[in-house]
C-alpha cells in the first residue's frame, strides 16, 4: 500500500518521512526519528510510557497513527532540557526527589506532568495524582513522583519547595 508523506515539528525541528498509514506515531518517533526516549510499555493504551506532548495535549503515541500528527508540533523527553544541557525543572525534580527507579515510565511521566503544570501551575497533591492517572509506574509507588512534580511546580513558580510531612 502506498506510503504517505508526513511532516511535523518535533522538539522544534522540522521533520518528515514516508510512512505506511498504519505506522503508529510512537514507531515513527522511535524508528524513523531515532528518538528513543518515549517508551512502549503496554502497547494497549493503558500505561502512558509512550506519552508525548502534541499541540498542547498529552497523548499516548502508541494510539495515534503518524499520519494523524501531520503538521503537529510535538515535544518528547529529548526536547525538555535546555540546549546547553540544563535540566528542565521536572527533570531536576525527578532527580532530586528520587522520582524514578528503573526509569521506564519517566519520559511519559515528565511529559504528562509538563502539560499538567502548564494547565494548572500550582496543583494540589490530589490534582497531581488525578492528572497523572494515565501513567503507570511499577517501581516507585508514585510517592516520589508526586514529590518530584511538586518540586518542579515550586521551582517554576519561584517559591521554596516544602516537602509535605509523611
Amino acid at each position: 500500500m502506498a506510503k504517505v508523506h508526513v511532516s511535523m515539528t518535533v522538539n522544534g525541528d522540522a521533520v518528515e518521512g514516508l510512512v505506511e498509514p498504519r505506522t503508529l506515531l510512537i514507531h515513527f518517533i522511535r524508528e524513523n526519528l531515532l528518538l528513543t526516549g518515549a517508551h512502549i510499555g503496554c502497547d494497549t493504551s493503558h500505561c502512558g510510557a509512550c506519552t508525548v506532548d502534541l499541540d498542547g495535549k498529552s497523548v499516548k503515541s502508541c494510539t495515534l497513527f503518524a499520519v494523524q500528527a501531520e503538521g503537529a508540533s510535538i515535544t518528547t523527553i529529548e526536547g525538555m532540557a535546555a540546549p546547553d544541557g540544563t535540566l528542565h525543572a521536572l527533570q531536576e525534580g525527578f532527580r532530586m526527589m528520587h522520582g524514578l527507579q528503573c526509569g521506564f515510565c519517566t519520559p511519559g511521566m515528565i511529559l504528562r506532568a509538563h502539560r499538567l503544570l502548564l494547565e494548572n501551575p500550582d496543583p494540589s497533591e490530589e490534582e497531581i495524582r488525578f492528572g497523572i492517572a494515565g501513567n503507570m509506574c511499577r517501581c516507585t509507588g508514585y510517592q516520589n513522583i508526586v514529590k518530584a512534580i511538586q518540586y518542579a511546580a515550586a521551582k517554576i513558580n519561584g517559591v521554596p519547595f516544602q516537602e509535605a510531612a509523611e
Binding site: 498509514p21 502512558g48 497523548v59 497513527f65 494523524q68
Partner: protein, 288 residues
C-alpha cells in the same frame, strides 16, 4: 502490535467525507480520536481497508446553543467538554461523566462523537445521552436525518447508522434550570470501563419528582433506558418505598455478562447501587 494495512483519507469538509464513505462502502470507517478504533485494529477485531479521518473537518468541532438546545460537534473531545464553562453551567452531567472516562491522555483525544457512535455498551456517554433524550444528527449520501439516542443502539457495536452514514453532531435539549442530574460509575480503577453505571436526569416541583429519566451503562448489550423505574418515581416524593421499587425495576432490565468485573448477579446489584447513588445526588441537586 501494529494494525492491519489500510488506506488513509483526510477529507476537509462534511460533504467530502460523506461522499468518500458512500463510495468506499463497508470497507471504510470514520476515524475520530481512534482511541476505541486503533486498539481494536491492533487486535484485528476491526480490519477496515480505508480510514476516513474526520480531524480535518472544522464543522464537526465545537459547542453551540440553538434555541433551547445545545449542539455539540461530533469531533469535540472529552477534554473540550470538560473545559467548556458554558456546558458545565447548562449540562453539568457531561463534565461529570467525561471526568469518569479513561484518563487525561485519552480524554484529550477521544471524541464525544466516537464515544456515542462506537456502539460499545461500555462507553459512558450513550446512557447519559439517553437520559437527556439527545438526538443524533446523521449525515449520509441521501441527506441528513436525526435519530433519537433512545432509538440508536440496537446491539453491541450495532447502531442505527446505515453503511456510509456518519454522525455529525449531538443535539441535547437543555433541561430546565433547577434540574438535578448525576452519573454514578463503579470501576475497578481509573481507565476502566464500568462494572455498572447509572445516569439520572430529573426535575422536582413542590417536593415531588415531576420528570425523571434513567439510563444504565454496561449491564446489557446496549445502554438501557430504565423507563419503568422512571415511571415509578414520577409524582412521588422519592420516599424510601418508591425508591426501592424503582431500583428493583431498573435491576430487572439488566442482562450483564459475567466477566472480569464480576458475576452477572453482582453487576446487576451494582447497577442498582449506582442508581441509588445517582438518584440521591440528582435529588439533592434539584430545586423545588
Amino acid at each position: 502490535m501494529i494494525p492491519g494495512r489500510f488506506e488513509y483519507h483526510r477529507p476537509k469538509s462534511l460533504p467530502e467525507a460523506v461522499a468518500l464513505l458512500a463510495k468506499l462502502g463497508e470497507d471504510a470507517r470514520p476515524l475520530a480520536g481512534g482511541h476505541s478504533l486503533i486498539p481494536m485494529m491492533k487486535l484485528r477485531m476491526a480490519t477496515p481497508e480505508h480510514l476516513v479521518d474526520l480531524a480535518g473537518i472544522a464543522d464537526l468541532k465545537g459547542i453551540r446553543h440553538e434555541g433551547g438546545r445545545i449542539v455539540i460537534g461530533a469531533m469535540t473531545t472529552q477534554a473540550e467538554l470538560i473545559a467548556s464553562a458554558d456546558l458545565s453551567a447548562a449540562l453539568p452531567i457531561l463534565k461529570e461523566t467525561a471526568l469518569l472516562i479513561a484518563d487525561p491522555q485519552v480524554r484529550y483525544v477521544g471524541t464525544l462523537g466516537g464515544n456515542v457512535a462506537n456502539g460499545d455498551p461500555g462507553n459512558d456517554m450513550p446512557a447519559v445521552m439517553m437520559a437527556l433524550d439527545a438526538t443524533y444528527q446523521l449525515a449520509g449520501e441521501k441527506g441528513a436525518r436525526e435519530v433519537a439516542a433512545r432509538e440508536f443502539y440496537q446491539g453491541a457495536y450495532f447502531t442505527a447508522l446505515e453503511p456510509g452514514e456518519m454522525l455529525a453532531a449531538i443535539s441535547i435539549p437543555v433541561p430546565p434550570a433547577g434540574h438535578g442530574a448525576a452519573y454514578e460509575k463503579l470501576k475497578r480503577k481509573i481507565g476502566d470501563y464500568a462494572t455498572a453505571a447509572a445516569a439520572v436526569v430529573l426535575t422536582k416541583a413542590d417536593g415531588r419528582i415531576a420528570t425523571c429519566a434513567i439510563a444504565l451503562t454496561n449491564v446489557g448489550d446496549t445502554p438501557l433506558l430504565a423507563e419503568e423505574a422512571a415511571h415509578i418515581l414520577t409524582g412521588t416524593s422519592a420516599d424510601a418505598a418508591s425508591l426501592a421499587r424503582a431500583i428493583a425495576a431498573a435491576e430487572a432490565i439488566t442482562e450483564p455478562a459475567t466477566d472480569g468485573r464480576g458475576t452477572a448477579a453482582y453487576r446487576t446489584k451494582m447497577a442498582g447501587i449506582m442508581l441509588e447513588r445517582a438518584l440521591a445526588r440528582a435529588l439533592a441537586r434539584a430545586a423545588g
